[in-house]
Amino acid sequence: MKKTTFKVPRHVSVSLISLTERKAGNFGPVAAARAAGFSGEDAERIHSSDKVSLLLECSESDALSEYDLAQTEELVPLAEGFASARVGPETAEKLITCSKISRVQTKKQSGPHLKEVLPEIRLVGSSNNRSVPEDGSGVLIGVVDSGFDLTHPVFRDVNGNLRVEALLDQEDGNRQFDTAQLETAWMNGRGPGVDLDGHGTHVACIAGGSAFTGFDGIAPGARFLLVRTDFLNTDTAVRWIFDQANRLSLPCVVNMSLGHHFGSHDGTDAEERFHRAVSGPGRILVISAGNEREDSLHIGGRFFAGQAQEVAFDMLRPQKGNPNVTLTLWYSEQDKFDITLVLPSGQSVSVPAANLDVYRTSGVDLELARQPYVWSRSIKAQISISFKGFFKSRDLLNWKLHLTCKKAAVGRVDGWFHNSGYALFSRGNPLVERSRTVGLAATGDACLAVASHVGRNTWDSDLGSNEDLQVVKGRTSPFSSLGPTRDGRWKPDLSAPGQYVTAALADDCELSRMDQRALVDSRLVTIEGTSMAAPIVTGTVALMLQKKKSLSVADVRGILAETARHDAHTGSAAWEPAYGFGKIDVAAALSKV
């Protein structure tokens, strides 16, 4: 087997290098087709041209002025710094070596990557044209997330200008930037609010991304208020976004595709009550329900007086640092429970009736506490386990929680690990529940909580086409957290497609290293979660606010519930733990505004 190695400049698609290095005089239609992502018989059947289609990023405005093109070639400026080219091999080689061109990538054949999602939510009709005239113009979309790649075309309008009104970077001393400052800062690569993870860029793109290679977000006419969050001060992030919206006197919808399980799950957490204080006409919050359905992080059950139950759990070793977990248990102030933690060694410690007991060994610290929780007339018990120093794997396994009901006026107890990925309750135990896994702050009544269902089960990646035969299109996503809330309220509110959603990929982020999900040259990536479902609703709310600026969360919830779609998967019940009021129908919702 003969091997030849070519140097691949960083700024050029590999597929173009393999074409130009053939030195065959011309590309040939099949070779050019393969560079565009056609494979097999499609490359021969569909592609008849021997030119290659390129997307160019130019570092200087006169980069394209010096080329003599053949009659069949074309070079078209798209926006400031971007151009489209359709050229043969000689011109392609010149473009590769031009110092004024910072990036040369082959265009890949792609249908709109939301092509199966947009018809599913009734945003496009059978002709693939948008079925509603609204695009979110005059509305602000706030996104609280991991960061944003502002070099990505989805954040720019047709003139190449940023569609970002302002950005707050909580990871950089809460520095704030306006549009002009962001344009300057991002001119030469990474700037403020940079997305090292990829999550935030993907989410923002779904909600309001500009048209990009056949793809656009739900509300491509809206402008963004972006917060690169530290994932702790999400309340100040929301405050900042609404302050900016107040300054601009524009309606605003905020997307938070994040959450936790360290709270009462009954809408009375401080952050949830704060959301109630700041939401109002034209001030809407959309929060993802969570992905914890199958994560065995919740126990719940009804006890009678004298009944005792035990449930085992294992702690999980994190990728970095020592294992630690916090478990909170909640029950009515009218009831009385004895709660005991049994260590793998067999030693047991009791949660005190009041106060905080701290136990320290050479390997682990335990904190056990109990206190009244006045906001919902409950009792909160809290157990924190933190490993330190040397420990063995067996030290993580087979911890036990022993619950004995001493008095049962209500009798219901619920418990959650503070988040997924830290510990697991033993799955076979009857106390382990999939329901009541909607997280905070989605259990608050001042937001729209969004679940996920399967919109598609195929996607493209740098490793080729992929299909997941284990999911059923239209069915609830297997990970999507289930309602109701601890106090029985109907959350999630509705469901949107959140499975295998393709959207913008941030440059050089964690997600770009996933070959089976990323299309790096196309700057797209496919991931799933209620994170992806929530911005579909956020974009929809932006379209609704464009029609009527003064809608409140109750107005929006009422319209979305009334117009939600039901099918064989959702059933016909008014509300269902996996789908909420049903599946989002954008066209129907807008017609009701």
Binding site: L258, H260, A270, F274, N291, L356
Partner: protein
């Protein structure tokens, strides 16, 4: 195993915490903000009437505890996941 007992509340933690503070009935936001400033807390923001965000250590919080409820903020997780089928 060494054991220690603390009174109700979680202000035994001496490091700076991100907290949300709600004044108890009969006490105002301004009063709480003044307490926090005197105690050396930072990043003090009135989020909405009745809700104050701050970065404060155990010493500062133990003074405020008399007039306000203190909630330690929790780290959120992004709600995305992927798996290889």
């Amino acid at each position: 195993m060494r054991k220690a007992t603390f009174p109700q509340g979680f202000t035994h933690q001496m490091g700076a915490q991100a907290v949300t503070i709600e004044p108890l009935p009969g006490h105002s936001d301004e009063e709480v903000v003044a307490f926090l400033e005197e105690s050396g807390a930072s990043d003090i923001t009135v989020l909405a009437p009745g809700f104050i965000s701050a970065q404060a250590d155990g010493q500062a919080l133990s003074k405020v505890e008399e007039i306000a409820s203190i909630h330690v903020k929790t780290r959120h997780q992004p709600h995305s996941r992927w798996r290889i089928p």
